[in-house]
Homo-oligomer: 264 residues x 2
Amino acid sequence: VTARSSDGGAIPRVRQAGSALPDPDTPEGLGSAAAPNPSVDGGTGGGLDRRKVLQAAVSLVDHHELRYLTMRRLGQQLGVEAMSLYHYVYSREDLLDGMVELVIDDLYGDPEVHLTADDWQEYLQRLAHGVRRIALAHPQLFPLIATRPPAAPWVRPPLRSLRWMESFLETLHQCGFSDPAAVSAYRSFSSFLLGQLLLEVSAQGADIGPIEQANPDDAPQTDLTEYPRLKKLEHELSQDHSAQEFEETLETLLVRLERLVGRP
Amino acid sequence: VTARSSDGGAIPRVRQAGSALPDPDTPEGLGSAAAPNPSVDGGTGGGLDRRKVLQAAVSLVDHHELRYLTMRRLGQQLGVEAMSLYHYVYSREDLLDGMVELVIDDLYGDPEVHLTADDWQEYLQRLAHGVRRIALAHPQLFPLIATRPPAAPWVRPPLRSLRWMESFLETLHQCGFSDPAAVSAYRSFSSFLLGQLLLEVSAQGADIGPIEQANPDDAPQTDLTEYPRLKKLEHELSQDHSAQEFEETLETLLVRLERLVGRP
DNA sequence: ACCTGAACACCGTTCAAGT
DNA sequence: ACCTGAACACCGTTCAAGT
């Protein structure tokens, strides 16, 4: 059981749905009554566990909207009362965190991303497309992935996974980027990637939940010994350069648009 | 009273907050009981109207979080029971729409934005900074501004205001952009702007509410006679180019990063 | 060990009733 | 004309009680 940084100020985050929540023909059954529906678990047997709960939640959100995910509905989906879920999940917050982790872990298995690339351009291309694939596969969940404070909340913008960030920095280092150049590249890349995809999924009707305020106090003081480059660049990565970043990207864009004038 | 496209499938969107909602020292009073607090209106007198309701709501959200905004709390803020609000607002959805409009209207008054610029670069610079100012002034509200379907829901990405879009297209046209070039410029510019700012405010703990699915059916079939360029380019603007847009921006970014290698 | 019923403090919204 | 009380159908979460 991982130590949860939760609480102190964990804020439940529920949307509630008057009486008008659309119930598009759900793939999981048409019984409108509260009939338990145990046919939905992984198939491996009756016992519930955290993983099964998280999987059911992800699937519920993929087929509906984020606000459709309710402790009561999730319980019903698993053939159990809502209160039972609290044995596998500390709160709705924790449920959402778990879902994000589950989906993120998929990326590690993605061979397209983890093929060793021999130049950094190819590496970044693969990474970008891998993340985009996740975004499009789970549009409702992606805003959470992109914005929930990750293991290292001081990194701006947050790429959500220490493993990613470490491998990003290491790859660029080996390709001849100086430390400041690598940090700067990290910033441009991740804010392009997350910003663009956030907008793209929001156009599909996604829904960003409130982000736990990155309260520096309860930053879990993560152990970075496994991530040496991250540790080395910790200070640089935690600076906020959003204004400067904004100006530079805008400038680049204007230059790019210049080439459009007077041409078809 | 403007015709509201609401309903048919309007979905209330409430977050509810167990018992743990933080109540940071609110600037509007410390009476914890349900004491009416009529001292909050514009100052011009007791009568409630839509505008006052919207203003109070915006201020509530600016000082707290989006999920803090509740019909009951808003009512209390205005010295009235929650149910009275329904005289000025059709639903919580409508309340949020009204708040977005109120804030957007501020931009029209912004002299920084509406100075006539004589080159399009300056115009886009002004516009970008004006929108960024709004985002930073109302981080909690901005995701709604950036993602709620605007008057013309077929425009991707949505710049939220027909007046903006028209003036954008007209300016570029007069500066020698061909029609396709102007549309392409619109796309790059708005997705840069909204994506970047969405990410920036989300890092501050913002919260994107569910977006009403841009249901093409109930698109209000807006009257575009006042917006000739918009009308002319309607078809081009409604194409989805997000994949291509993604590739191009990524490519540009990689080229830009190239210049960082091997330099300090 | 796992699940449940009943309860609590919240939601948006409706509606008949008050002034 | 404007406001309200009471009610309804929902929330997350707690807790003592069941098996």
